[in-house]
């Protein structure tokens, strides 16, 4: 198959746009892993929930995720109140009730208003984000926080189990039918032989803006530094009053928001099913693993590479594009394995 210039450019554009989304997910995965040691497999469900929640709002139905948010809010409130039962103050109880019980009610109200008054697309996007983002910290409270001291491996098994449960719930809420959402920008830019869709531009711009915002957050703000400190030295962070639970909340909120945003961005370009998120997330994973689960720049760069490989593979051997993408992991693991010293003591883990 010969590739002419215009096809090449389309493929490169596709690759970069998809790669940008994988990159966002990879960044979120690295944040969560370094701060909490959790390998967040269910980020794929945040992707799917984000996209399908927006699609439901567009068709004017109340998305099932609103109910899920409420249930998780109640569970999270129960877990938090139980964990702090001995040292609870009026203020902390009020804060817990507000963030875990009141918030879902407010969000549900927003969702209803949004459907009722046919809100503009941007508002729907924001409401979809508001529905999915709090699930991150709620799930952290219910699932991960009670076992914060467990090994990376046990936390990973828990993550996979959570993925399974959330995917099943996705099927209950959204059915097996796929959905697409409206494009966020309907224009098309024409530069020589190259047609760039408005959505592509939105994706790349949003990604770049997010990367800059994350950079500023981690480098310039005290909370960002606190997250980094927890990632570097958990005990050291606790000794300066940085609570691992607070950092866990921030990291999971970031991850759920980024996941949902990724889903919203990609669902204007491809149909999303309840189980598509997992495959998208896996590509973010491959990128994060290439970066050793700790390096942000390496993860972001590999995400673009993965997007390009996928885009060219889907042109030449579309049936095997997933396989080809996952095979990228082999040389990387080989290279990492080669560089790892023979003695690796993880007995204490």
């Amino acid at each position: 198959m010969a590739v002419d210039l215009s096809i090449l450019l389309v493929l490169v554009q596709d690759g970069i746009v998809n790669g940008a989304i994988y990159g966002l997910l990879a960044l979120a995965l690295v944040i969560v892993f370094t701060v909490t040691r959790v390998i967040l497999v269910p980020i794929g469900e945040f992707v799917a929930f984000g996209a399908l929640t927006l699609a439901a709002l567009e068709t004017g139905t109340l998305p099932g995720t609103v109910w899920l948010l409420g249930i998780l809010g109640v569970a999270s409130a129960a877990c938090r109140l139980w964990a702090s039962r001995r040292h609870a103050t009026m203020r902390s109880v009020a804060w817990q009730i507000g963030t875990s019980l009141l918030l879902p009610v407010v969000v549900a109200g927003l969702a209803w208003a949004c459907i009722h008054w046919q809100a503009p697309q941007l508002v729907k996007v924001l409401v979809a984000l508001a529905i999915v983002a709090p699930m991150g910290p709620y799930l952290y409270d219910v699932v991960y926080r009670p076992m914060a001291d467990a090994s990376v491996l046990v936390l990973l098994i828990v993550s996979v189990a959570l993925h399974l449960a959330l995917q099943g719930l996705g099927l209950v809420f959204f059915g097996s039918e796929g959905s697409r959402t409206q494009s966020l920008a309907d224009t098309t830019l024409e530069i020589g032989p190259l047609f760039i869709s408005g959505q592509s531009i939105v994706v790349v711009l949003v990604t770049l803006a997010l990367i800059v915002a994350l950079f500023l957050f981690f480098e310039r703000t005290l909370m960002g530094r606190a997250l980094r400190a927890t990632a570097v030295n958990r005990l050291g962070a606790q000794l300066v009053a940085i609570s691992p639970a607070l950092c866990g909340h921030v990291a999971f909120t970031l991850a759920a928001s980024i996941g949902a945003l990724g889903g919203i961005l990609i669902s204007a370009m491809t149909t999303i099913y309840y189980d598509t998120g997992f495959l998208i997330a896996l590509k973010g994973f491959v990128a994060a693993v290439i970066g050793g689960l700790v390096s942000y720049p390496l993860a972001a760069a590999s995400a673009i590479l993965i997007g390009l490989v996928e885009s060219f593979a889907s042109f030449h051997a579309s049936a095997f594009k997933e396989v080809l993408v996952f095979m990228i992991i082999i040389p990387v693991l080989l290279w990492r394995s080669w560089r790892t010293p023979a003695l690796l003591d993880e007995g204490e883990e």
């Binding site: 497999v41 990973l156 828990v158 189990a161 449960a165 099943g168 994973f285 396989v323 204490e348």
Partner: protein, 596 residues
């Protein structure tokens, strides 16, 4: 194996044989029992992988698929008989496991887990898209198994076949775990560092566990293909892999019985949920995944050991207390050939100009000393003086920034801990590193790893019994030597700290070392224990062994050692006989602090 385990195992076996023979036992349940058996085979592999070796795989369904597709393709396309494809299926799954393991098992455990997710998904797509696997339609027309006229297409006959395979797999697994190779795998949980210090190749031990789990999954797949008589990609996806993991974790990932229990519970539960949930939710789909996911999370949160230990506690309450296991008498004859020790007074080790830097911190700076055969040398100094770092440089745990270490004339600076162990250097650890949950005797026998040669295959088939007997005779001998024979059958982590330190010394002695390195052997020991330890070390010295010890108990050090090396601020402060060191003003200052 405890009495409770044995009782429950026999009871279950009797139940598994007798129940289907009852008149009126529904045929559907026979098939269900076969499925439980197939899953139990996979879960059994996960017990070895997850519970014993501490690794996790999300790709076991893929290995089941390797076994199933191997026999499906060979029987339908090339006319092989099912029995001829059995060894091929096992070899294919084993080889693929070996290849995947070789790539990832040098890395931290979670890389294997992530890689297996990616590969399982890839396999699923490949099988669904390649003509070779006949895509999503799958391969049908797989012949049934027959043997001596018995037709295993009949569900009852097939069940007997599955049951035989499960019993065989249990026996093989038990034999394997109770062997030199099995102890090496179990040692992984005590930390790779300790295992490597006794010559265990921890990478190979991990690969062994992974391949074993892969082969058992392959066997399950071979059976599955001939039970269903057709294969397609759907039962080999990632969700099924997670189900297998759920079985192992729910049942109890540290026990063989847990695998069976988990397989039974999850298989039965799925069967019930598959009809119940769609009815409850009023929709079609695999909703049992929601329950399974939630269940797995709850088990890991509240009972990470699974259900089997709870069952055992219940059963052992019903059984009479078991009799104490016997302690064999002391024997003097060496059960295994000894290595030639250097002549008394000959130079055993020479460290020169050792330096170790961590970032801006110089932990060890230009340290040098020699050790001669048959002498006990103490390495002392205040906290943070660099003693432990020096120790780690000698044993290959850390790589020196600069300097040399010659052991019996061979340069060992930069060698691995494992290589240094083969040369005859044994050690103990400041923070005791025994394998938790393993008996004292097995822990000590681990020290004899380099003195045996039996591989996993001979172990599984019990061809290693003569060598095992010699290894355990040796372990008993060393336990008598340190005075802990009466504790041999206890679980190592139940001992007091002092006793655990002695177990470590017994383990080190099993290596038949030329040089024994002891990291704070007297810390945490009571007065009488210290006196006994001093006598033991003195006896070893008389036998010609060379000993280097880091120790803070000055009473102990001053009375025992022939020579002292004193360190302070990473550098050498003084060397000499204990008497001279005690009167050395610089040393007194370093310990009590200069009057600031």
């Amino acid at each position: 194996m405890s009495a409770a385990h044995r009782a429950v195992a026999l009871l279950l076996l009797a139940l598994a044989i007798l129940a289907p023979l009852l008149p009126g036992f529904p045929p559907f349940w026979v098939t269900l029992l076969s499925y439980i058996g197939l899953s139990a085979l996979v879960a059994l592999g996960l017990v070895v992988l997850v519970g014993v070796a501490g690794l996790t795989s999300f790709g076991q369904a893929m290995f089941v698929g390797f076994g199933a597709y191997t026999t499906a393709i060979l029987t339908t396309r090339y006319g092989f008989s099912p029995w001829a494809t059995l060894p091929v299926a096992l070899v294919v799954s084993g080889l693929l496991a070996w290849g995947i393991g070789a790539i990832t098992l040098r890395l931290k455990g979670h890389y294997l887990a992530i890689a297996t997710i990616a590969w399982n998904v890839s396999f699923f797509y490949l099988a669904g898209n390649l003509d070779f696997f006949q895509r999503n339609d799958g391969i049908s027309g797989i012949p049934a198994i027959t043997l001596f006229g018995i037709d295993f297409a009949r569900s009852m006959n097939f069940y007997w076949l599955v049951l035989a395979c499960v019993v065989l797999a249990i026996l093989l697994t038990r034999n394997l775990l109770d062997s030199r190779a099995g102890r090496a795998v179990r040692a992984l949980r005590g930390g790779a560092l300790a295992a490597e210090s006794f010559g265990v190749n921890t990478f190979n031990a991990r690969v062994l566990a992974f391949v074993y789990a892969g082969v058992l999954a392959g066997l399950s797949g071979w059976l599955y293909a001939h039970l269903q008589r057709a294969v397609n990609p759907s039962p080999f996806g990632i969700n099924m892999s997670i189900d297998y993991l759920l079985m192992a974790v729910a049942g109890g990932v540290h026990n063989i019985g847990g695998a069976l229990l988990g397989a039974a519970i999850v298989t039965l539960l799925r069967d019930q949920l598959q009809t119940l949930l769609p009815w409850l939710l009023n929709a079609q789909g695999n909703f049992e995944t929601i329950v399974f996911g939630g269940l797995l999370i709850l088990i890991l949160q509240f009972s990470p050991q699974g259900l089997w230990p709870h069952l055992m506690k219940l059963v052992s309450r019903l059984l009479p207390r078991p009799a104490e296991a016997p302690v064999p008498p002391i024997s003097e004859a060496p059960p295994l050939p000894l290595r030639a020790q250097p002549a008394r007074g000959a130079e055993v080790l020479r460290a020169s100009e050792l330096r170790k830097q961590f970032g801006g911190l110089v932990a060890v700076d230009n340290v040098g000393f020699t050790l001669n055969a048959g002498e006990v040398v103490g390495l002392i100094g205040p906290n943070g003086a660099g003693k432990s770092t020096t120790f780690n440089l000698l044993t290959g745990v850390l790589a020196a920034t600069k300097g040399n270490v010659a052991f019996l004339g061979e340069e060992i600076c930069g060698s691995t801990a494992r290589h240094i162990a083969t040369r005859g250097v044994a050690r103990t650890f400041q923070h005791v590193k025994l394998v938790r949950g393993m008996s004292v005797l097995d822990n000590v026998a681990l020290g004899a790893h380099l003195r045996g040669a039996a591989g996993p295959l001979s172990a599984a088939l019990h061809l290693d019994r003569a060598e095992e007997a010699r290894i355990f005779a040796l372990a008993w001998q060393q336990l008598h030597r340190v005075g802990l024979a009466q504790c041999a059958h206890l679980v190592a982590d139940d001992l007091s700290l002092g006793q655990q330190r002695l177990v470590e010394i017994a383990r080190a002695l099993c290596l038949d070392p030329v040089l024994l390195l002891l990291d704070e052997p007297a810390a945490g020991l009571r007065h009488l224990e210290k006196a006994a330890l001093a006598r033991l070390l003195d006896r070893l010295r008389q036998d010609g062994m060379t000993i280097l010890l880091v120790e803070h108990d000055m009473d102990f050090v001053m009375n025992l050692t022939d020579r002292l090396v004193v360190m302070n601020f990473g550098a050498e402060l003084a060397q000499g006989r204990p008497k001279d060191i005690q009167g050395n003003p610089a040393v007194i200052d370093a310990y009590l602090g200069t009057a600031a």
